[in-house]
């Protein structure tokens, strides 16, 4: 790709980067007219669009594209410049399907217009919102905190929603539209899906997100690096530990700090425990969506045992805030090690029980086999990662593609399935829990002794751009950081896995019944605040 870029595109700027520190191989600035050509070539070489965002500078905007491959760590960064006055950029939406949502987000956050985009409306903000919060010239809006305003805003929002989604209130002939959510038990949070139906069969479904938008990215710009920790605990609250890991990895590689061995071992141990807890929550709620109540109680019972262990170490049950730069908040206590050792055989037995109870259940099989199929092509176009991608036959796992921390020394498999249906996703997650147990068993017996901190660190990250990704319970979680060398981040873009995974259900829903839509949605294992950020 490098030769091709330099040969036929002739980028205006080209910088080689160190993949170990910056997270990308190279960075190229191309002309606006060339970006579509570049994207087409990247798609031809089976790169997926990992993230698309913008950075606001004094003179201009930089629109930043990250491309990556499934097989190897091949992340590269391509940029275009967009002027402040004529803020138009070419749209990639006809090349990459994932660009549709990414560009909508950049449009509302920065006010950049993408030419050729099928429908540039607000994605995360309310339809009535006309602000561009991630602009540096945006200095806050006190509107939302006022009572009289709130009541007025309710009317405005309702009205503008109907304008933005006229289909939600009209009906033509036999076809009709149904809102699934935002308050619906099986949307796992506040998600709205506008279903276009013929009888009970879905013709198409359009997810409407943003009901849990909590301005994480803007918030991180006005607080220092240490103060950002709680945000990462609350992004993906079901698997908060891996999001902690992502942030720790980003800042540590940027600063060039290597945490002590005990810290690394405890981090991996707690993250894998948390991953099991996350998958258990998914299993319980997924089966409850399908009408099975019993697994919910079993799964939550097991999950509580993990939460007990993690609580001994962190003091928290859910929104962990355990990692620190180059270290940990507290040491992993002895009683937690004993509890973990007790948990492993118990949970192995439980997993066999789940398998007996669920995997061959005829009712379950009939509802999930061959349902919601995600093909490899769609997965590439949407940038799907995590168990969803592995169920479609691609062995992409950040822990193997770009081993961080201790993962290269650990023995575990990356389970894959090739069917790409709901059942395949179920199987992948069930097997992943076993693999997590394997990792935990390897670590819990030989936790290295030593310090849990690497001493005093500078308060700021050196000037530059960094990208780092880790494998969360839902897929590849990447953070793109632009640091100007001051005490707080200049720009942080969170590339969250559920965002892309949810995007892909647009192509999975057509042809299903409404009741199947619930199964498909449940199998994607989404966490809404992570999507909406």
């Amino acid at each position: 790709m490098k030769k091709w870029l330099q040969g036929s595109i002739k980028p205006e700027e080209f910088t080689e980067k160190n993949i170990k520190t910056a997270g990308i191989h190279f960075e190229a600035l191309v002309g606006q007219d060339k970006i579509r050509e570049v994207a087409k070539e990247f798609l031809k070489q089976s790169y997926y669009l990992e993230s698309l965002t913008a950075v606001d500078f004094q003179e201009c905007f930089e629109v930043v594209y990250h491309f990556n491959r499934w097989e190897t760590q091949a992340r590269v960064c391509v940029k275009i410049l967009v002027g402040k006055d004529a803020n138009n950029a070419p749209s990639l939406s006809s090349i990459y399907k994932s660009a549709v949502w990414f560009e909508r987000e950049v449009h509302e956050m920065f006010g950049i217009t993408f030419d050729g985009h099928p429908g540039l409306k607000n994605l995360l903000l309310p339809e009535s919102s006309r602000i561009h919060p991630l602009l540096k010239s945006f200095k806050g809006e006190p509107k939302g905190s006022d009572v009289a305003q709130s009541l007025k805003l309710i009317e405005e929002d309702k009205r503008d929603f109907e304008v933005a989604y006229p289909r939600s209130i009209t009906q033509q002939g036999k076809d009709y539209y149904l809102n699934l959510g935002p308050q619906h038990p099986s949307t796992h949070g506040v998600l709205r899906i506008l279903l276009h139906l013929n009888g009970e069969r879905i013709l198409d479904g359009e997810p409407i997100i943003g009901y849990s938008h909590r301005h994480h990215e803007k918030m991180m710009e006005i607080q220092n690096y240490l103060a950002c920790w709680p945000n990462f605990g609350r992004l993906d609250y079901v698997g908060a530990m891996s999001f902690n890991f992502g942030y720790a990895r980003l800042v540590e590689t940027a600063m060039g700090v290597a945490p002590p061995p005990r810290v690394e071992a405890i981090r991996v141990l707690t993250t894998e425990l948390n991953r099991i807890a996350s998958h258990l929550l998914w299993l319980g709620t997924f089966l409850m969506d399908l009408g099975a109540m019993t697994p919910f109680f079993y799964c939550f019972d097991d999950r509580e045992k993990i939460l007990d262990i993690l609580e001994m170490a962190t003091g928290e049950r859910l929104t962990y805030d355990y990692f620190r730069f180059g270290g940990l908040d507290k040491d992993f206590p002895v009683e937690a090690i004993a509890a973990t050792k007790q948990f492993i055989p118990e949970f192995k037995k439980r997993l066999r029980e789940y398998d007996k109870l669920i995997s061959k259940n005829v009712i379950f099989l009939n509802r999930v086999r061959g349902m919601g199929i995600l093909t490899k092509e769609d997965a590439l176009a949407y940038g799907v990662t995590g168990p969803m991608l592995r169920a479609s036959g691609v062995a992409l796992d950040e822990r193997r593609r770009d081993p961080y921390s201790l993962y290269q020394h650990l023995d575990f498999n990356v389970p894959i399935r090739t069917d790409g249906d709901v059942y395949a996703r179920y199987e992948v997650r069930m097997q992943e829990m076993e693999e997590c147990l394997k990792i935990i068993a390897q670590l819990v017996d030989n936790l290295p002794e030593g310090a849990i901190s690497s001493g005093k660190l500078p308060k700021n990250v050196p000037k530059g751009e960094y990208y780092s990704a880790i494998e969360s319970a839902r897929g590849s979680f990447g953070i793109y950081l632009v640091s100007d060398g001051s005490l707080n981040p200049y720009r942080i873009k969170l590339r969250t896995p559920s965002f892309s995974n949810l995007n892909a259900i647009i192509d999975m829903l057509p042809g299903c019944f409404i009741s199947d839509a619930v199964a498909v949605l449940g199998s994607t294992d989404i966490v809404l605040p992570e999507i909406d950020r």
Binding site: E59, C60, L124, L125, P126, S129, I131, K136, S137, K139, G140, E141, P142, K143, G144, S145, D146, V147, A148, S150, L153, I154, K158, Q183, H184, P185, G189, V190, Y211, S212, H213, R214, H215, K218, M219, E221, I222, N231, R234, Y237, L281, G284, F297, Y298, F300, D301, E304, R317, L318, T319, G326, G455, K456, P458, K459, K463, G485, N488, Y490, P529
Partner: protein, 219 residues
């Protein structure tokens, strides 16, 4: 009949149960209401997971008779607002609340539903700082997120309030005092791309002050 929905008009109206009061009957009704709360299955963010955990096997909300969570607001009389209220969600919550039959009760579960929680900062654009800005609240539960025990304590507190006749459940919009946060936030200004782009030359001046801070890291 035309219903006047103007909040200022409604504030001047006295509640209908002020006209005639059947004390014994009210008391009996309150006992009945306090023991059969039907919460709305409704979660917004992190706190909803703890709400689920409270309903699951270890904490078992059913012991107290709160386990009949209804997915439809028309069958529920208790709204547990569990999580951050984003601006986009506000109309939906208001609609849900309006659809619930009176008398209805509201619990603000966690820091976000109480006052914005960790997402409150001066000039924030994304969230509503507390659900009591749009609907009246009976019980506040602090925590981020509150443990399931805290939720149970909150529910028992609500039960006590209803039983003792201290809350009738609400019929009209609440009267709310508004507080504005006037602290200045440290918003950043845009930096020059040209300056940012040429790293080799400019970092020379900032490096000497950075070096001493980096030195203790190795020590």
């Amino acid at each position: 009949m035309e219903i006047n929905k103007d909040p200022e008009f409604l504030e001047t109206q006295t509640p209908p149960n002020g006209l005639v009061s059947f004390f014994k009957l009210d008391h009996l009704l309150n006992i009945a209401r306090s023991n059969s709360q039907w919460p709305l299955t409704f979660g917004l963010a992190c706190c909803a997971i703890e709400f689920m955990a409270a309903g699951a096997s270890r904490f078992d909300l059913d012991r107290f008779g709160f386990g009949v969570a209804r997915p439809s607001p028309r069958q529920a009389d208790l709204m547990i607002v569990a999580g951050t209220i984003s601006r986009k969600m506000v109309p939906c919550i208001k609609t849900l609340y309006d659809q619930m039959p009176a008398p209805k009760y509201v619990i603000a579960h966690g820091g976000c539903a109480t006052a914005g929680g960790p997402f409150k900062y001066p000039g924030q654009y994304g969230i509503l700082e507390g659900i009591d800005k749009i609907i009246p609240v009976n019980v506040y539960i602090p925590g981020c997120p509150p443990r399931p025990e805290a939720l149970i304590a909150g529910l028992l507190e609500l039960r006590r309030l209803i039983k003792e006749g201290k809350t009738q459940g609400t019929m009209s919009p609440a009267i709310i005092e508004d507080s504005q946060d006037a602290r200045p936030a440290e918003y950043k200004n845009a930096i020059s791309r040209a300056d940012f782009r040429k790293p080799p030359a400019p970092p020379a001046p900032p490096t000497p002050p950075a070096a001493p801070t980096a030195a203790p890291a190795q020590a």
